[in-house]
């Protein structure tokens, strides 16, 4: 929400939430299947791609690779290699490819994102 002063909330028959505020009314679509993944959960940059693993969903942006998981704030896993990112989930579990406008790199990605170490296995 764009303001922090929340006075009262109300759940309507559709399950959505109305918030009475000091300077506006906000309607939060709790029942919406949509979610915004953005700076507010620490995903920076323009969004490019997303792919799911058993541990959660990885997101690539112009700034790097992010993993929100179930945490309130996302973690930037890798942001070292330039402005433009391209990723694709490889057939082999745990591997994916990322690259810049300059080059493509293949990485060995640990499935458990709490292990932040990423190992480059091939690059050109």
């Amino acid at each position: 929400m764009e303001s922090n002063a929340c006075l009262r909330s109300f759940q309507d028959y559709s399950g959505n939430l109305w918030v009475g505020m000091q300077n506006r009314i906000a309607l939060i679509h709790l029942n919406s299947p949509m979610r915004f993944l953005n700076q507010e959960i620490n995903i920076q940059g323009s969004g490019y791609e997303a792919f799911e693993t058993v541990d959660g969903t990885y997101f690539t942006t112009s700034n790097g690779i992010y993993f929100p998981g179930k945490e309130r704030r996302s973690r930037c896993i890798s942001a070292r290699y330039g402005k433009y990112w391209l990723t694709a989930l490889m057939k082999s579990p745990g591997n994916y490819m990322q690259g810049t406008t300059q080059a493509y790199f293949f990485w060995k990605m640990p499935l458990n994102p709490t292990h932040s170490r990423i190992q480059m296995v091939y690059g050109r």
Binding site: G20, M21, R24, I28, F36, Q39, I41, S46, T57
Partner: protein, 280 residues
């Protein structure tokens, strides 16, 4: 149908997720639509809501009562000089009850307003704001700091507490309030009784939520207690710490296991009682 016009200022990208519990477990921000005063053409402050079975939303605004049919806003009882503070819609009579500054009553069909002030017993007409209106036990409860005015459809009786009371709450069909000394009180018949032991008394209660064998008491300070007939204990310490300094204004139990905690300085907290996690 609502038109979704979201502020895209910070949005990097949008993902469509499956509905249901799986969607709730994932991170991300819910879509939010902000209605500005320039859109609904009334005052800036909005305090309470109600809804009828036609799905219309009613809002207690500081300049009048607003209604929203999903597409357009209307204003009612506009700029009377009395700020609207509380609302409750009674489906059995199709009335919208309204509490305002020194005034309470209801709207009938076609937005005809009926004041109940004339029915207040002599000597009880001096009150300031009607902060809450509740429907319970076939009565309407207009809650002020001077007393609770109970309307049974025919007449009004007043429940008082020496020294006055604080905010009032509806939980599980029961009406609770807090004495000026900080004690939790419950309406029993036409009296206020002290139902449960209580730990904190020096801070105001912002929410009373049914929980286990008793009630969660959420204080302005962010402290949370579980009060039962058998004793009182502190609960949800991690959440309490997160709420510290935010000044809790209001607490709502959603239809699932989550609480919505409205704060003065830090927005909303969505707290899942089962998982012990929250989103801000």
């Amino acid at each position: 149908m609502l038109h979704f016009e979201y502020n895209m200022r910070y949005i990097s990208f949008l993902i469509l997720l499956l509905m249901g519990p799986q969607a709730r477990a994932l991170s991300g921000k819910y879509p939010i639509r902000n209605f500005m005063p320039t859109e609904y053409k009334a005052g800036i402050q909005n305090i309470d809501f109600a809804q009828n079975r036609d799905m219309a939303i009613f809002v207690a605004n500081n300049l009048g009562v607003l209604s929203f049919n999903g597409n357009t806003w209307e204003r009612h009882d506009f700029k009377t000089g009395k700020k609207k503070r509380s609302l409750a819609f009674d489906e059995s009579t199709n009335r919208l009850y309204v509490g305002s500054q020194g005034e309470f009553g209801f709207f009938e069909e076609d937005w005809r307003y009926v004041s109940l002030i004339d029915q207040i017993p002599p000597g009880f007409g001096d009150f300031d704001e009607v902060w809450d209106v509740f429907l319970a036990n076939s009565n309407i409860y207009f809650c002020t700091f001077q007393g609770i005015y109970v309307y049974d459809g025919q007449s009004i009786t007043v429940i008082e507490q020496e020294g006055g009371i604080e905010r009032s709450f509806l939980a599980d069909g029961k009406i609770f309030t807090q004495s000026q000394q900080g004690r939790l009180l419950e309406i029993e018949g036409s009296k206020l009784v002290q139902p449960y032991p209580q730990g904190q008394t020096g801070t105001k209660i912002a929410g009373v939520i049914p929980h286990d064998e008793g009630y969660l008491l959420v204080y302005n300070s962010g402290q949370i207690e579980l009060a039962t007939p058998f004793g009182v204990s502190r609960k949800y310490d991690a959440l309490s710490r997160a709420l510290q300094g935010t000044y809790v204004n209001h607490v709502l139990q959603l239809s699932d296991t989550r609480l919505v905690i409205a704060t003065q300085t830090s927005g909303l907290f969505l707290y899942d009682l089962q998982e012990g996690t929250w989103k801000q």
